[in-house]
């Protein structure tokens, strides 16, 4: 009997731990999607527009394709509410994402449209800067309401 109880408690503990892990996995997955966008928008487009890395047409074109792909995943990836933030993260999602789901999702198509509008139209640092500013402004429409500083 004692052994049975120990096994049962062990199973329960494992189940609780894996549920918590799953929630953390969801939060990490959501964070990764946003980081992927930051990599191309800030790591490539912003840095190149400021002259910190040399202008590279192939990298610009790739950034737009990857951004479009990643922004297109936001609605799906942010479907479930992990109810927690990534451990030790600087930024996280506001609970409002899931409280105002329709409004949150309504912010995505304008970002996709802005990215699409600049495809094939960036040829130099000046046009890259214009594109970066417009895309970043459209991202901020969402960040103002749905992105939280955590520490």
């Amino acid at each position: 009997m004692k052994r049975l109880m120990m096994v049962a408690s062990g199973i329960l503990l494992l189940a609780a731990a894996s549920a918590a892990m799953a929630q953390q996995d969801i939060a990490v997955q959501q964070d990764n999607v946003m980081r992927q966008q930051a990599k191309y928008l800030y790591g490539v487009m912003l840095r190149m527009s400021r002259g910190r890395i040399p202008y590279d047409q192939a990298a610009v074109d790739e950034a737009l394709v990857e951004l479009e792909k990643s922004v297109g995943q936001i609605a799906t990836v942010f479907g479930p509410n992990p109810n927690e933030n990534v451990v030790n993260a600087e930024y996280g999602s506001s609970p409002k994402v899931w409280q105002n789901k329709a409004d949150f999702e309504s912010k995505i198509p304008p970002v996709l449209k802005t990215i699409g509008d600049f495809k094939g139209k960036i040829h130099d640092v000046a046009s890259l800067t214009t594109a970066y500013t417009a895309i970043n402004d459209s991202c901020n429409e969402c960040h103002e309401t749905y992105r939280l500083k955590l520490k």
Binding site: R35, A38, P82, E90, N140, H143, K149
Partner: protein, 310 residues
């Protein structure tokens, strides 16, 4: 004999009560600047527009949910521990905005937190920082705002909990938390540092969000700039002393004030997004000056964060 004692006691209580009320009334009075203290001058509209950005007026007073930063019909709701404030219409509309205000009315509102009717404004309006502004900056701001389009529509009244809704008591708050002193340059620092100190401490009103507050809503001075819970309820406002920004270079801070992007490729969230819309309009040398000043703030431990899940 007993009734004599009671009468004396009542008389004493009455004297204490009346004196106390008189002291409260005197201490809580509004102390406006008179129009005669504002000598005639030609306003600098370009500077007024610049001050508009440096002071972050659009952050609260631009109509939310539309892109025009100069459409000052107000309406943003700010939830705090004391109640919900609704940013008023400060467009030049004569009925719903500030179209009928004199220059002295405007200066008193911004620098003293006093309405044209002589009432105290609630300190959700950051006049405790604006009090340190150069008066000519605020006069230029008045002239600039008068050039903008009037917006109709009066914003709803603030919903503030008792006893914080007693406006007269804000006069006592001002005695406790405002020094009434103009910004004074520190000769031991460079002109750039002083310009940064001016922008951060007066127009930029950075400490208003980046400092913890006490039960009366006043900034806890020993922890000024050390961050704390977001006054709007969600998230955390970071420590911007060297305790929080030691890893950031001066360029990192100046870049962030322009782009909203941190050195680790995170982007600003919440109300800081609105702040960046203003600071991105400033001259690069002013952003660098603010960074210079912020880098000089000694490390101060902020309040302890209570971890909350969604």
């Amino acid at each position: 004999m007993g009734s004599m004692k009671t009468a004396r006691l009542l008389a004493a209580l009455l004297v204490v009560g009346v004196s106390g009320f008189a002291a409260f009334w005197w201490l809580s009075r509004a102390n406006p600047i008179s129009a005669s203290e504002l000598p005639t001058r030609t306003p600098d509209l370009a500077n007024g527009r610049y001050v508009f950005d440096a002071a972050g007026c659009a952050s609260c007073h631009a109509v939310p949910g539309q892109p025009d930063r100069f459409r000052l019909g107000g309406g943003l709701s700010i939830s705090t521990a004391f109640g919900t404030f609704h940013a008023p219409n400060i467009s030049p509309d004569a009925t719903d905005g500030i179209g009928k205000w004199t220059e002295a009315d405007f200066v008193n509102a911004v620098m003293r937190g006093i309405s044209p009717a002589g009432e105290h404004y609630f300190p959700a309006f950051p006049y405790a920082s604006y009090q340190h502004a150069e008066i000519n900056d605020i006069r230029d701001l008045y002239a600039f705002i008068r050039t903008l389009a009037p917006v109709t529509g009066r914003v709803r009244a603030h919903e503030v909990r008792f006893p914080f809704n007693i406006r007269r008591s804000v006069g006592i708050w001002k005695q406790l938390f405002m020094d009434g002193k103009p910004f004074t340059p520190d000769a031991s620092h460079s002109a750039r540092w002083n310009r940064g100190a001016y922008l951060v401490n007066s127009l930029g009103h950075c400490a208003e969000c980046h400092s913890p507050r006490n039960a009366l809503g006043g900034i806890i001075e020993r922890q000024r700039f050390a961050g704390g819970p977001d006054p709007e309820g969600e998230g955390w406002v970071p420590n911007i002393t060297q305790k929080g920004l030691a890893d950031w270079s001066e360029d990192d801070i100046a870049d962030f004030l322009e782009s909203g992007i941190t050195p680790s490729n995170d982007s600003a969230g919440g109300s800081m997004v609105r702040v960046i819309r203003n600071t991105s309009q400033l001259r690069p040398d002013d952003r660098t000056a603010m960074a210079d000043y912020l880098k000089s703030l000694p490390p101060i431990e902020g309040p302890t964060r209570v971890r909350k899940s969604n």
